[in-house]
Symmetry: C2
Subunit: 246 residues, 2 copies
DNA sequence: CCAAAAGTGTTAGGAGTACACCCATGA
DNA sequence: TCATGGGTGTACTCCTAACACTTTTGG
């Protein structure tokens, strides 16, 4: 193990990527030989943190090292530190030794982050050959390492909670977006359907969602009007004690 | 430092206690001699965690050791791990050495908990002579150690958020309570005033707030009817996809 | 009988919800 | 001209917010 690392504290990343159809999660495939058998499962990107590194910097570093992405929305969830979180499955002990980390008590501090896959390129991210974007609903059928399923559930419910009162949807969209794209995000994340007219009525009342004099092009149907999110207007309203809810 | 402790991970407790008038915080007074001067400030109860101890168990242990209270509501906030959180003030380094903990990188995982001071006895808690219950608004004028002010702000905003959608108010009340007591909690925590009639109308629609055939006694005014919170009814409704909001 | 807090209804405005058809574009 | 998704209004219900007086008890 590298000497500059804290042996008992790690960071894991639940990276949500929206590709205008699905909400995806970035997972790293992992293969373990254990007692003659080959096991395959998936984990979040993550690493021990450095002794001279803030938690928030560690999470940014790990995402940058894996994907090259910088300046995206990222927020800490909470610490997960069960005694047996790394050692429930015997084969994981072998894996820890194989990556030169024979420490069995690691408290992990997961972050979730939001990426627009159109803008950031769904394929550009594949710097690590074992990394994959997987639709959230599909993840639930996969074998996740350690307590990563529990972390995912926590991340999802936190995301849903924060989406209700904060302008996070725009982190998942390109700068210019259509109202249908915006609506789709809420539908996918809350696993529901929304009424188009009611949704648009609500949006029309939000001064910080600004209509542009631009349209989609190259679509084989009536092109949608494009909008943008004005963080300036939003901040001004918010400081006047305003309550954002979509 | 005790050998059974993780050197880089601690737990801190933001204990909220409601005494039917104020929302209080449990603080530990701390005196430091540094370069000939005596400094006094306040910190949350907290300690390093044990190597063989879950995070949630550590927080319960620390509260129990200090106050004797068990089985109260307790929830993790998030990790605080700035590089300089312990070393911003030079005198704190001396203090760390004085308590036999010369490690300057400690990530702390704060919990908040809710205590009813009527039931648990505002004075019984004073097992530690340096411990005090301090009204939240007064805390803001006091000198808090390390990043404990930041942790307090985070705890308060988390508490407010959770109060909106979870039945936490009842953790701060005796088992039998009046509607005025209940209303007072929301008023104190949200620093607002509520209309008595509208508040009661809302409560009347909540089947899990059950009127009892009992009244206050020994009050020098019309005695209030007493109510209780039925967790059973609440759980049943919640599992049917119900949305608690006060 | 006084002080103190308990208890109680109505109304008006705003927000949410349900619902169906025409429009603009590319192929 | 067809397929595809874009764009629009109305009516009903329910929730919220504003507001003031009478009741019950102990002292």
């Amino acid at each position: 193990m590298h000497a500059g690392l804290l042996p008992n504290v790690s960071v894991d990343l639940v990276v949500f990527g929206f590709d205008s159809v699905h909400l995806n999660i970035l997972l790293i495939g992992r293969s373990i030989f254990y007692k003659g058998d080959l096991y395959h499962d998936w984990k979040f990107p993550g690493d021990l943190i450095r002794k001279d590194e803030d938690l928030d910097d560690a999470s940014k570093r790990i995402l940058r090292e894996l994907t090259g992405i910088e300046k995206i929305y990222m927020k800490q969830l909470k610490a997960f530190g069960s005694l047996n979180r790394l050692t429930k499955r015997a084969r994981d002990m072998d894996w820890l030794i194989s990556i030169d980390h024979p420490e069995n008590r690691v408290i992990t501090i997961p972050y979730y982050s939001l990426v627009n896959l159109e803008k950031n390129g769904k394929n550009d991210l594949m710097l690590n050959e074992n990394a994959r974007w997987v639709p959230v609903n599909y993840v639930k059928t996969m074998e996740l390492a350690f307590d990563h399923l529990e972390i995912l559930e926590f991340a999802l419910s936190t995301l849903r909670n924060e989406m209700r009162t904060k302008p996070l949807a725009f982190e998942l969209l390109p700068q210019k977006f259509s109202l249908t794209q915006l609506q789709k995000i809420y539908e996918v994340i809350f696993e529901t359907t929304l009424d188009k007219r009611n949704f648009r009525k609500k949006i029309a009342n939000l001064s910080y969602i600004v209509p542009l004099n631009e349209q989609e092009n190259d679509v084989s149907h009536r092109p949608a009007k494009l909008y943008m999110f004005s963080r300036d207007i939003y901040q001004r309203l918010k400081s006047r004690n305003f309550d954002f809810t979509i």
